[in-house]
């Protein structure tokens, strides 16, 4: 047999904020052999290459995702991404978790058994509980179906940040940033750090959702990217404006920001039920997926929330995992699915638990397809109103909204799916 078979108590797939926090919490709780697998050479996840501030402060406004730009109001609290990543790794190791980097889970060999590949060879690891924390990525140009030629010079924020901060690579001279969510501003900050002039930040929104922090970045609103030009190098970004005009911005670099999708391949390959909205595993407030003993945490569940939120979920998943190990967990099933109506895109968690748990922080997270000023949300089941709640802030595609959870006690466990609607 060329594959080394081992057993652990808890196997955590993914060494980003959620996975590391889960590992630290579970190891501290003496959960037995707690092993974190990270496929990159260094653990820490996305914060490794976010050189802006805002991570892990009291406000933890690493700001909706791994986002806010250097010099912003958010950045005064907390620390930089790389420091945050190193601290997260140290916390997991100090607590006694085993962290194995450069090891990739390549597939499943049983309900809680995975196969791995790494420089030390192939393994088959069976765990009493598995926590999936594989995170999220930005959709690249192809997945966004942006037409045109395929020249070099097209980046996502993730690739850009690694190129600049981890490898010191040359980027270009003139860049367009697509997307004006916080992650777009983070991309702009990285470009400036690399000495790249920013031609414009482009967004389809009619007006900026918040006041421009940096007058150095011209913001083009109401504009959609319709194509890329250039052969040996990007030469321009074609735009269509809301008023019908078509223009081309001359540039040699474009960064496509935001538009996160969960990295759900392992969950799907394992046959876990996915939520049609988030496209991550369907889960309840105790982070249980459709497979007993397989849990999930972090941005795999909702692409995307800030690093501190993911880490909070990592700590929170420890409780149901410990119940699982102790045999004191609730039997699976019995939860009702939560479904949303447009323009809402998804809600997380998206199942009610059998035991009335509240989600992390006591509130559900929702995502909307378009901007909603102070929306009124209605929660109902079989036409029966369970709850209604007015949001105090404006929500938008990159600005999730949250919903109180006390109504879960009123859900009929034998009723239909619970529906969340914008009135």
């Amino acid at each position: 047999m060329t594959r080394n078979a081992r057993e652990v108590d808890v196997l955590i797939v993914g060494g980003g904020p959620a996975g590391l926090a889960a590992g630290a919490e579970l190891a501290a709780a003496r959960a037995g052999r707690v092993e974190i697998l990270e496929r990159e050479r260094e653990a820490g996840g996305i914060p490794r290459h976010c050189h802006h501030g805002g991570f892990g402060g009291r406000l933890d406004r690493s700001a909706y995702a791994w986002a806010s730009a250097a010099g912003s109001a958010y950045a005064r609290k907390g620390t930089s991404g790389p420091v945050y990543a190193r601290r997260s790794v140290a916390a997991a190791l100090d607590a006694g978790a085993a962290l194995r980097t450069g090891v990739t889970v390549t597939g499943w060999a049983g309900p809680r058994t995975v196969e791995t590949s790494g420089p030390a060879g192939l393994e088959r690891i069976t765990a009493r509980a598995v926590v999936l924390a594989t995170g999220a990525r930005e959709r690249p140009r192809s997945a966004r179906l942006i037409p045109g030629t395929r020249p070099p010079g097209v980046y996502t924020t993730g690739e850009l940040q690694q190129a600049v901060h981890l490898y010191g690579q040359r980027i270009g001279t003139r860049a367009v940033v697509v997307g004006d969510e916080p992650v777009g501003h983070a991309a702009a900050a990285t470009l400036r750090a690399a000495g790249v002039e920013i031609v414009a930040m482009v967004t389809g929104r009619p007006s900026p959702p918040f006041r421009l922090r940096s007058p150095r970045t011209p913001l083009l609103t109401g504009a959609t990217v319709t194509g890329l030009t250039g052969r040996t190098r990007l030469s321009g970004v074609e735009l269509r404006h809301d008023d019908g005009r078509a223009t081309t911005l001359r540039c040699d670099t474009v960064v496509l920001t935001g538009d996160f999708v969960p990295d759900h391949e392992l969950a799907r390959r394992g046959g876990l039920v996915l939520d049609p909205g988030t496209r991550g595993p369907a889960y309840d407030a105790a982070y249980r997926t459709s497979r007993p003993g397989v849990f999930a945490a972090g941005n795999l569940l909702h692409a995307v929330e800030r690093a501190g939120f993911a880490a909070g979920e990592g700590r929170a998943v420890a409780v149901p995992v410990l119940h699982r190990l102790a045999g004191t967990d609730h039997p699976a099933g019995g939860g009702r699915p939560l479904v949303v109506d447009a323009p809402l895109r998804w809600i997380a968690p998206n199942m009610t638990g059998p035991d009335g748990e509240r989600p992390h922080g006591g509130r559900f997270v929702l995502c909307t397809a378009w901007r909603l000023p102070r929306p009124l949300l209605l929660v109902s089941q079989d036409g029966r109103e369970l709850h209604r709640e007015r949001q105090l802030l404006t929500a938008g595609p990159g600005r999730p909204l949250t919903l109180g959870a006390d109504w879960v006690d009123r859900v009929d466990p034998d009723g239909a799916a619970v529906r969340i609607t914008v009135l």
Partner: protein
């Protein structure tokens, strides 16, 4: 083994017999590379030149990657014969060298009564092309074999030997073998003019003059222009653009076969096919253009493909798109290849090699060799080429990251760099040190799959670029 591969600087000096090539092949696409490989079996001084910085960088890199049976060719045509012969040659060659091939079979799906009525005619045509294994299946069998097909399919013609193949490894294998056997490969070498005389040809290229006794024009989209430089005006290449969408590997279970449209008055339609990498391909469009460089995709083209794809396999549209590309096929307004020898000129034109060129490539190579001999090339006896093993990039290939033996021998084969495509440091290092190394990140992708997966470099792009730049002088 002395390898002569140049990418810049002047070509070997023209003076003196030892600096005159016996044969020069213009165009290092799959056809030119196959011809060069065939020539390399003989004691000839052969050059293979291309304007691009890599082999297979034109039409060869952007096609539907199908190894055809030739069941639907025009019976009696040169294309029909070369596809039939080429298919067997390439299938055997792929098995020998490790080029990824999967015999998934094709189904020509009939969506209306007219198309259903056309199936027996297509089956008869297949028989006239020497292909006897196709048969018509009814809607129930079709549904059972392709459960994710959209509603309304009435039946299909089953062509069990249609296969999928790696379109990048194939020309690379040909060129690698040719170069190892002594063929000189000159890249970034654009042909500007040809002056012919009694002794042969003097080519003016972007890298200086090149002298050759015999000339083979396998320049794909530019074959007509080069033919005119030699004084002919026989055909015109009209680029026919085909846009294609590649879906995520998670879509692979939706499609079992190559799902071909039934050709009809409304055109050839689009196909859905698995790829050897485990993705699913949707396309191509067929747009007649003037511009031979218009390899961009368009919003209209992508919209059209998605609308057609939605009908064939509705679930496909819910999957993430991994890549979008467009290729140009060399249409000449004739339903056949245009391969013509000119003995007085010591010249062979290989034009109008349409989408079947990948399948027919090795047979075209043999055919051109015969034509060169007929034009007076004294080539002597062939000698066998040393065996070649190409990296197994396919989903069904033995990939290094799953080989305990390889990893134990060299941990670099267990060091994954590109996670979406499971490409290891060892494979990237091998490609960068290979006989014909890549000159661009795209070239590296075609050799290894690195950064060719669903994240398109979000995770690995900077790391792969660092490895590439490290390896370049």
């Amino acid at each position: 083994m002395t390898v002569t591969l140049t990418t810049s600087g002047p070509l070997p000096p023209e003076k003196g017999a030892e600096h005159t090539y016996d044969v020069t092949v213009i165009g290092a696409g799959v056809v030119g590379a196959a011809i060069a490989r065939e020539l390399s079996r003989y004691q000839l001084r052969t050059a293979l030149i291309d304007a691009a910085d890599d082999i297979g960088n034109g039409t060869s890199k952007a096609n539907t990657a199908i190894l055809h049976t030739g069941f639907d060719a025009v019976p009696g045509s040169l294309e029909a014969r070369l596809v039939r012969e080429g298919r067997d040659l390439l299938a055997d060659y792929a098995a020998d060298t490790g080029i990824p091939v999967e015999r998934v079979g094709a189904l020509l799906v009939a969506w209306d009564e007219d198309q259903l009525a056309a199936l027996p005619l297509l089956r008869d045509k297949a028989v006239r092309n020497g292909y006897h294994a196709s048969r018509i299946i009814d809607a129930d069998e079709l549904r059972a074999r392709e459960p994710h097909l959209g509603p309304g399919a009435l039946g299909a013609l089953d062509v069990p030997d249609e296969s999928i193949i790696c379109p990048w490894t194939t020309p690379l294998a040909f060129a690698t073998q040719a170069v190892r056997a002594g063929v000189h490969l000159h890249l970034n070498c654009r042909l500007r003019d040809v002056r012919s005389d009694a002794g042969g040809h003097t080519l003016t290229t972007s890298r200086g003059p090149l002298r050759t006794r015999y000339l083979v024009n396998a320049a794909g989209l530019y074959a007509d222009e080069i033919d005119r430089l030699l004084g002919h005006d026989v055909f015109t290449v009209t680029p026919r653009r085909g846009q294609l969408i590649v879906f995520d590997k998670l879509a692979r279970d939706l499609v079992g076969h190559i799902l071909l449209p039934v050709p009809g008055p409304a055109g050839k339609g689009v196909l859905i096919a698995p790829t050897v990498f485990g993705n699913v391909l949707l396309g191509p469009t067929a747009e007649e253009l003037d511009d031979k460089t218009a390899t961009g995709s368009t919003a209209e083209g992508l919209h059209l493909l998605r609308e057609k794809g939605r009908r064939i396999v509705p679930g496909l549209l819910d999957e993430e798109v991994t890549a979008v590309y467009a290729g140009l096929r060399a249409a000449t307004g004739q339903e056949d290849y245009r391969i013509q020898e000119y003995p007085a000129l010591r010249y062979v034109a290989v034009g109008g090699i349409r989408s079947t060129g990948l399948t027919a490539s090795m047979a075209i190579g043999r055919h051109v060799m015969e034509l060169l001999a007929a034009t007076g090339l004294d080539h002597g006896e062939p000698h066998p080429l040393p065996p070649l093993t190409m990296p197994g990039l396919g989903d069904a290939s033995p990939r290094p990251y799953l080989s305990a033996r390889l990893i134990a021998g060299d941990p670099a084969y267990g060091t994954l760099v590109c996670h979406c495509e499971q490409v290891t440091l060892g494979e990237i290092r091998d490609a960068l040190a290979s006989t014909i190394p890549p000159n661009s990140l795209d070239g590296l992708r075609r050799r290894t799959r690195a950064r060719g997966g669903r994240c398109q470099g979000f995770y690995c792009g900077a790391a792969v670029r660092a490895l590439f730049e490290e390896a370049r002088p």
